[in-house]
Every structure is written in C-alpha cells, then in structure tokens.
C-alpha cells in the first residue's frame, strides 16, 4: 500500500493532455518561476477555450509527489495574472536608473541591444568587463555560468552571495573528498515501486543536519518523503539549534550552538572510531586516510564538543552510537553547513560519517549519481579560450572554488566593482537575482552603490525587483513554469530520481523561459556555441537532454524515473569513475578521509573546528553590547527567498518579517509578541517583528530573510522599502573560509531593542491591490 494513494486516483493513467468539462488539462512538472528547487512536482493545469488558466492541481500520476502540491504552486493563477507582473521587454535611459520611466520595446530590439552592448564592451574593455549575476533555485540558477560563458562570452559569472554559501560548498567538498556530485538522502524516488521496491531498504534513521527540507525542498529533495518514511517506521534525528515542527517528531534533537557543526561532527567520529562502531570492510576497501582521521578526531572528545556546541556530552555519544548502529542511516545535510567560514570541514565530517558507517551509495543511505549521467556543466567554457579563462575573477586566489564552479569569487566581485581592480566591470546582467533584497548580498547597500559604477545593465525576471529597479536599463520578462517548455531534473540532476517535462499550457504576454532567453542571447552574441542549433528545441535537447531523447517524447511521458542510471554500490561496478574502474573518482580512488585535494590547495587535509568569527567565544568583549547569537533564513512554506510577497494568499500566511525570540528574553527586554524591534550589530541594523516563541532558546534569535514590499514605492531611494527589514545589512563582507567558501549568515551576534513604531502590513490593501488579476482577453 502506498501511503499517498489517498491523494486521489480520479486521473491516474491520463495522457499528458486531455479534455475535462470543457477545459483542456495539461500534465507537466513544475520548476520555475515561481522560484523553487527542482523537485519537478507533478501539476495539472486547467485551461479554458480562451486560453486562460482556470486552476491548477497536483498530478496524482507523479511517482514522487503523487498529487501533493504546496501553496506556492497552488496560487499559480495569482502569480501568472498578477497586476505587478511585467509582460513585455522594456528599456529606460541610464539617467533614469531607479525611476519608473520604462518604455515598452520588442524582443528584437531587446536582444539586438544586448548584442550591441556586448560587442561594444568586448571591443573596448575586453569580455571580462561583462559581469553576469545570478540567483538561486529558479531554472536560471544553475544556468548562470552558461549564461555568462556560453551566451555572453565573459568568464565572469557570479551569485552575489558571500562565500557562495549555498549548496556549492557542499557540492565542491563532496567532489574533492569522494569524487561524486552530491550524496542525497535516498527515498526511492527513482524506483518504480518506491518504498516497496525490492531494490530499496527503508532507512532505520533519517538525520536532518542543518536542513529543514519540508518547506522548500532544499536542493531539489522532496522533503515530505521523510514523512512518508517516518510513517513506515524510520526514526528521525534533528541537528538544529531551533525547534521546528519536524524536530518535535525526532527521537533525538541536538540543539547545537549555530556554527559549531564541525565540532559535533568530529566528536561523533571520535565516538564511532574509538568505540569501534565503524564498517571495517568499507573502510579497508574504499577509504583513504582513516588512521590520520582517527588521530585527528581524538582531539575532539565529546566533553570538549559539549563545551563548544552546548549539547550534553552523553547525548553526543548516544547520537553517534545510534547513527552508527542504524542500518541503513541517511543524512540530509543542508544550507547551515555552508553558511560558515569552516563549513567545508563540517561537510568533510559528515561525508566521513557517511563513509565509515558504510552508508554511502547503499539503498536507503546516501544516493549518489552515475558518472556517465552527465550534467549540464561547463557549456561554453572551453570556447572562451585560455586567455579569457584566466581572467575569471579569483582564479589564483581561490582556485578550489573558482575553477570548480566556474564562477568569479563573489566577495571579490564587490571589491572589484568598488575599486576597479584588478579589472573594470562595465556591463552586467541580472538573471533571476534579487540579491539586494536580503537574499544574497552581504552588506547590500555597498553592493547597491557599487552597482552604480556599471555603465549598462539588463535584468531578466518576472517582476521589477528592487535589484532591477536599482540597476538596469533593460528588462526582459520571464515566463512562469506553466508558460514554457523545458526540462527539470530532481536534485539538479546530481542523483538519479526523475526527469520531468515542463509542459507549456498557457501564454501570458511575451514572457520567455530562461533556457529560451539564453538561447536567443547566445545565438546573437556567441554563434560559436549556439549557431549549430536550428531552433530552441534543438538547443534544449542538447543542453538538457544530452541528445538522449527528444522533448516531444519526454513531453508525452511527462515524468521519467531514471531507472537506467539508478544503481547502488557503484564503487564496485565502475560507475563512479569515467575510466570504468572500481572505486571513487578521487586521486586515490577512495573516499578521502584525509583529502589529497585539500592538501593540494594548501589547506588542512583533515577536518578541524573553527569558532564563528563573532560569537560568545571568539568575541566575548562584544557580548555585553550584542548579547544574542543571531541566525537567519529559516524557511517558510509561503515564500521562496524574496519571492511571493505579491500573492495575497501567501502574504497572509507571513505578512511581516519576523524575528523569533525566546519568552524569557522577550520579558527581560520588554518586548511583546508582535511588537516591532530594532536588530543591530557592528555591521548594520534593521527592523523586524518579534515572534515570542520557544522555537529558539534563551540567547538565540532567528531572523527571516528575503523581505521587500512590492506594494511600496519602487523608485529610488525607497526601492520597495528594501532597506527597512533587510537582515543582510547585518551580514559582514568577506568573512569567508580559507578556500573562499562559506560565510557566517547563520552564526552572528546582535542586539534587540523594542521600538514604538509599527510597520504591520495592511492585508486589506494587499488584497485590494493584488486580487485585481489581469487576465488576457
């Protein structure tokens, strides 16, 4: 029996498109916009004879989501017909930057203008003077290097997130240590029989480590799969400073101090090794550097880790024993690992835990990808040629990051924008990137000012975001996930689950999808990369489908489980190495508990612990003024980062930006639930609304991120009130790790002061404005 069978059976077995009650129903997989990680949830759109989207439902035919759908897709109609949406290309003059003086133009004019500007800046300042800034989650997110390198011909792509502290540190660390792309918790998503498939083993233990995948499916993992497995008997361990709902269903909740994950990981390794609880066979055959690791983690006995993390030593021991004894056990490790300067070491500990307990690449353990199941990486890089490749910013200083992800180093981009050294950025593009709105940019006002040094910019989005209002001369309208054809791989394709067709069912204005916009820019600016495709679909089949199938075939199948590349223990069968030999794709052919790659980059090859740069331990002198540990960015169901504020049904779930504070602290400060407070630290300040709650312990506060107020004035200097509640004003610039990865977005300090003003959102005004949907005639 499938637990989710109760989700509806009425439309099981229906084709990709059919008629029902005078409406045309199209089955497809959702990605973006609205922003989301690529699960590729199954959707059905119902469209009337006038071409209007009447409603949307979850598709019960989808093997993973089975009809389930979250609030962000359920409100798709309010998204696609939203009155704030921009449906046509627009331009404005350079002197009108920051003003609502946009003028509608044609796509031809827009693309031709980009081509002219690209040619001009290449000729006069070199291609490296063009900067591409990208965002996350949306389909354009992983396309960022390709947008820059393949389509524009500049090496300099970058997400303006300090230390690229999201996913990339984990992916890079995994690649260096294990040679595989990214080990995700296995929930049988690619197996036809799902949890009952004979290939699958239900995990005895699921560990959520610095990750809450339920609200927004981080990294493309369908978070509620964990609930499915818990209902079948899997136990849960939560490693998180905060209480979230799922941690209340865990048998073990380790509430560590933010940023101390590496200490906890080392102590767990210490217990598992010293008590001989590890998988000797796997360690002997497939690991490198076990002795050195064992020696290193002796330095972190549970008692010492207890002092650092605040978790009881006995509880750390118990957690280590439970994890080692569970067969199989899986760890969903998340963003919190990346958001610290030595997150790479915390990640190294987690990989070591997975390896020495024999949970890597086994059913119900950590699922990894087949080396031959190619990802869309590196498109256009070779065609840049060695001279331009050498001009990607940060290559010499941070080779472990820059050469791996083919992105300019984020923090160096800000310095370069400000100083004009070592190169001058003259032109920029912003794709799916609202970095100023408390999403990416640390010290966003500095970024805002630095962007003004750019002569000409274009932006690709659904909305006029504060970032685009502040920077761009040209706006390209993006279509939503129900308005274009494309392809979505769950987990960004890093592990084999599903490949889904994003099936177009409506047209709204002139929006185009990210893949098509890149194709159109590319064929004008870089025919060397795009000239060989006769049309967009040929490009899509090359770029997303590796020529293995046609889009037409996938469209009709709607969603394809990747059974052909799904297998386990691939280190035995040669499917982890391009040469087909058994072992892992690392210099030693083994999982490197002692990392030869880290050694080669000149850093400690073994995990170690480092205090957050600002914390009660490293800056005790500051704690009198800033007595709270500040963590940020806990996820909500209703928003994806800065997205969703214009959708009334989403906005009413979370109208205002919140800061969670413990009742004891609130009482001491004289803050009542719902009162606005000023939150400050040495780097900046903003106002948030207090939520008095036991989700945080005394001394810890959690602030929401990504807020802007699209109902407010969009012109400079207001930019939709983007500076009012922008928690990233408190984030320091360039507090990154040795290899350039990781910044302390989740482990800072602050003070909290009650204020008298209220900035409560007027939900009636939101409804009055945003319920006026603009449905095409």
């Amino acid at each position: 029996m499938k637990l989710f069978k109760g989700q509806g059976t009425a439309d099981l077995g229906k084709p990709w498109r059919y008629e029902e009650d005078g409406l045309t129903v199209t089955r497809g997989c959702a990605w973006s916009p609205p922003g989301c990680h690529p699960v590729g949830c199954g959707i059905k759109t119902y469209v009337n004879s006038a071409g209007e989207l009447v409603r949307i439902e979850g598709d019960e035919n989808h093997p993973v989501t089975g009809g389930r759908l979250c609030v962000r897709c359920l409100t798709m109609r309010d998204y696609v017909y939203n009155p704030d949406r921009v449906l046509y290309p627009m331009k404005r003059a350079r002197e009108d930057r920051g003003k609502n003086r946009w003028e509608r133009i044609t796509w031809d004019e827009a693309f031709d203008t980009i081509a002219e500007k690209v040619a001009y800046y290449k000729e006069n300042y070199g291609a490296e003077s063009i900067l591409m800034q990208g965002g996350t989650g949306r389909e354009g997110g992983p396309m960022l290097p390709a947008y820059a390198q393949a389509a524009l011909g500049t090496p300099n792509a970058s997400q303006p997130l300090s230390g690229y502290s999201c996913y990339i540190p984990r992916v890079a660390g995994t690649t260096y240590v294990t040679g595989v792309a990214y080990p995700e918790m296995d929930y049988a998503g690619g197996l036809p029989g799902r949890y009952d498939d004979p290939e699958f083993t239900l995990p005895e233990l699921i560990v959520f480590w610095g990750k809450d995948p339920l609200p927004t499916n981080g990294d493309g993992l369908f978070g509620h799969a964990a609930i499915d497995m818990m209902r079948r008997g899997s136990k849960l361990m939560s490693i998180d400073p905060r209480v979230n709902w799922v941690s209340t269903r865990a048998d073990w909740h380790l509430r560590l101090r933010p940023g101390t994950d590496a200490a906890l990981g080392m102590a767990m390794l210490n217990v598992i090794i010293s008590e001989d609880l590890y998988d000797h066979d796997f360690v002997d055959k497939w690991c490198y550097g076990f002795e050195q690791l064992a020696e290193r983690v002796k330095e972190m006995p549970p008692q010492k880790a207890a002092e650092i993390t605040g978790v009881d030593a006995g509880f750390i021991r118990e957690a280590a024993r439970v994890y080692a004894a569970a067969k199989p056990a899986q760890i969903a490790w998340g963003l919190a690992i990346d958001m610290k300067s030595n997150g790479m070491q915390a990640g190294h500990c987690i990989l070591a835990l997975e390896a020495i307990t024999g949970n890597l690449d086994v059913p119900g353990g950590q699922l990894v990808g087949d080396v031959n199941d190619g990802l869309e990486l590196g498109f256009g890089w070779n065609e840049l040629g060695p001279e331009l490749q050498g001009k990607i910013l940060g290559l010499k200083r941070y080779p472990a990051m820059v050469s791996f992800v083919l992105n300019a180093h984020c923090d160096m981009v800000l310095d370069t924008l400000e100083t004009g050294e070592p190169c001058q950025f003259k032109m920029a593009g912003f794709e799916d990137c609202n970095g100023l709105a408390g999403t990416d940019c640390a010290q966003p006002q500095r970024w805002h000012d630095a962007y003004q040094n750019l002569e000409w910019c274009f932006g690709i989005d659904v909305w006029l975001t504060p970032t685009i209002q502040a920077t761009c001369e040209l706006f390209l309208p993006l279509s939503s996930t129900v308005e274009h054809d494309s392809v979505v791989y769950s987990h960004y394709g890093a592990s084999p689950i599903t490949m889904g067709a994003i099936n177009k069912s409506i047209t709204v204005g002139e929006g185009k999808g990210d893949a098509e916009i890149m194709y159109e820019i590319g064929r004008r600016c870089m025919p060397i990369n795009f000239g060989r495709f006769a049309n967009f679909y040929e490009f899509l089949e090359y770029y997303r489908l590796n020529g293995k199938t046609t889009f037409e075939e996938l469209r009709e199948e709607v969603v394809h489980q990747k059974t052909e590349t799904l297998s386990y223990r691939k280190y035995e069968t040669g499917k982890l190495r391009p040469d087909g030999m058994p072992g892992f794709n690392t210099p030693t052919g083994r999982v490197e508990l002692y990392s030869t790659m880290f050694r080669q980059f000149g850093v400690d090859p073994l995990p170690f612990y480092e205090e957050p740069q600002l914390s009660p331990v490293s800056t005790p002198e500051k704690m009198e003024e800033y007595p709270f540990v500040l963590t940020t960015g806990a996820r909500t169901y209703c928003y994806f980062h800065s997205e969703g504020k214009q959708i009334p049904y989403l906005r009413e779930i979370n109208p205002d930006p919140l800061i969670e504070i413990n009742p004891k602290d609130a009482l001491k400060l004289g803050v009542s639930d719902g009162q606005w407070v000023r939150v400050s630290n040495p780097f900046g300040s903003c106002v948030l609304k207090a939520k008095v709650t036991q989700t945080v312990y005394p001394g810890l506060v959690m602030a929401q991120h990504g807020f802007w107020f699209p109902e407010q004035d969009g012109e400079e200097p207001h930019l939709y009130d983007v500076w009012r509640s922008n928690i990233n004003l408190l984030m320091p610039h360039f507090y990154v790790g040795e290899l350039g990865f990781g910044a302390p977005y989740k482990c800072l300090i602050c003070k909290v002061e009650p204020i008298e003003e209220s900035y409560d959102t007027d939900m009636q005004a939101i409804w009055n404005r945003y319920s006026q949907l603009v449905v095409p005639e």
Partner: protein
C-alpha cells in the same frame, strides 16, 4: 451516512496546502478560509519533549468539496496535503481507520443546527 475528514495530526507538518487549496477551490478571498491549521505549540513539556501539533480544522464554510466529490475526486485539501495525513469518506470507514493508530481526529462538517 455522513462523510467526514480524518486527520492524522501526529504527522501534519503545518504546510497549509489544505488552507490554500480550499481557498482556491472555492474562490474565497484572502482572509476567508474553509479550513485552517490550528497551531498548538511549541511549548516545553519537559527538557526532552516539545508539544507542537498542527491540526487542520474545518470552518463553517467547509462543504467537503461537494462539487468535486460528486465527480469522484477527493476534497481539494485531502488531495493536496503534502504529508498525506488527510482522509475523506463515510464516517464508519473513517472510524475503523481511527482505531488503527492514535493521534487522529475526525471532523464531520455540515450545516450548523443552531441556525
């Protein structure tokens, strides 16, 4: 036999898909609901236990999606529930389901008899 909603609140994650699916199904304005998730917690029971239950609770506007169920579809809240904790059916069948595990609640929405 009346129909009802059986909710396994031990596993309700509070995603609020039921709320929004219902609003969209019935064309309700924001601020109007046919079902709401009651947020009971978190509060500390003891050092090791936090009480936190999310309980979808039908409002006076719930009609159990009469139009949908007539066509053989499930109520929209049941269909879209991310944790798949909601069941719809005749109450005698739901009662049998209730006996299988604790921490479930059954609602039998209908016109209020006091009005």
């Amino acid at each position: 036999m009346r129909n009802g909603l059986l909710i396994d609140y031990e596993f309700c994650t509070g995603c609020q898909s039921c709320e929004v699916a219902c609003q969209k199904e019935h064309g309700f304005e924001a601020g109007t609901w046919g079902i709401r998730v009651l947020d009971e917690g978190p509060w500390e029971v003891d050092a090791k236990t936090m009480n936190w239950n999310k309980i979808p609770t039908p409002t006076t506007l719930c009609d159990l999606c009469a139009e949908r169920t007539e066509k053989g579809k499930l109520p929209s809240c049941v269909h879209h529930c991310l944790a798949a904790v909601m069941k719809y059916g005749p109450i005698d069948e739901l009662v049998k389901e209730m006996d299988k595990k604790p921490n479930q609640v059954m609602f039998v929405p209908g016109p209020y008899i006091c009005k």
